[in-house]
């Protein structure tokens, strides 16, 4: 590739202002002697100047307010989600611990004579009570938000 061809390849980027000082010097030196490259550089400069002055899409009226409102809405939803996750976690731990406590208590008071059917009934009742409490708490929160 000749110097002329090599410089010509760089003219668009020179007009875009992204070449290093050495490359710019090289182009300037060549353009002083080469009318075709000088004209080409001017053409590219017209394009890049035009690109810096494009018609601007105006930001819509109220963009800032709508964005702030959406951020607030998302933050509230995220906080609710975190709260619900914490609550469910706490209820799961509570359910597990109360089952364990119930098992220890029954074992101590009956001397371990409770039969399988009684165990099943008692633990089912305990699970339903825990799930019912969770549904009640979460349902009341949702109802408050809805109202």
């Amino acid at each position: 590739m000749t110097e002329h061809e090599s410089v010509r390849e760089m003219l668009a980027l020179a007009a875009a202002g992204v070449l290093d000082a050495g490359e710019v010097r090289r182009i300037e030196q060549h353009a002083r002697m080469c009318e075709a490259c000088r004209a080409e550089l001017e053409a590219w400069a017209a394009y890049t100047q035009g690109l810096r002055r494009l018609p601007q899409p105006p930001a819509p009226e109220g963009l800032l307010e709508r964005t702030s409102a959406r951020i607030l809405q998302e933050r509230t939803a995220a906080a609710d989600h975190r709260h619900q996750a914490l609550l469910l976690g706490a209820l799961a731990i509570f359910g597990w611990m109360s089952s364990l406590a119930f098992w220890v208590l029954v074992r101590e008071t009956t001397g371990g004579v409770l039969n399988g059917w009684a165990w099943w009934s008692a633990s089912t009742a305990l699970s339903w009570a825990t799930a019912g409490t969770a549904a009640l708490v979460l349902g009341r929160r949702e109802m408050r938000r809805f109202l």
Partner: protein, 193 residues
Amino acid sequence: MLAATMSLEAFGTDREIALLKKRDPDAVSALVGRYQHRLYRFLVRMVQEPAAAEDLFQQTWIRLLEKIGSYDTRRNFEAWLFAIARNLAIDHLRRRRDLSLDETDDSGLAASERLRSGGPNVLDRLLDFERGEILAAAIAQLPVIHREALTLRFEEEMKLEQIAEVAGIPLSTVKSRLHRALESLRTKIEGNV
């Protein structure tokens, strides 16, 4: 003087980031306000639909606040912000029409056709060029990666390093992408004259 101004701006940004990490509502509003025109313009250039650009603008700030806790203050804040916006815009374009990033976009054709038929004489064409309408219509037809390179360089006035950070590509790729974008733009415009 310029250095002093830049350091003041950097200080302001650092302070704002600290407040952002605390989710300070005033700091969030101030930052959204500061970048609203530039970020919205960038998103309009990327997706070319004002309604989608607004939605992506809002999503960008929500995503930024989700990630601000892990933001490294040594990184360039603007590049980070625009990278978030850019990734959301690319995801949107992919979902919308299963678009390959280097495919030519046809959404600017209508404007280009209008310009071609609407300005029959040379003076009208020159005035359109002066107003940037021909350029804007031609840019709208370029592939999204070329539109991105042009808007980041010439409207956001980012350096190659910042563009590389926004687009997540090597510096050499930014350079060649910018070169190809300029060549394609010129071919489109001179092909229409």
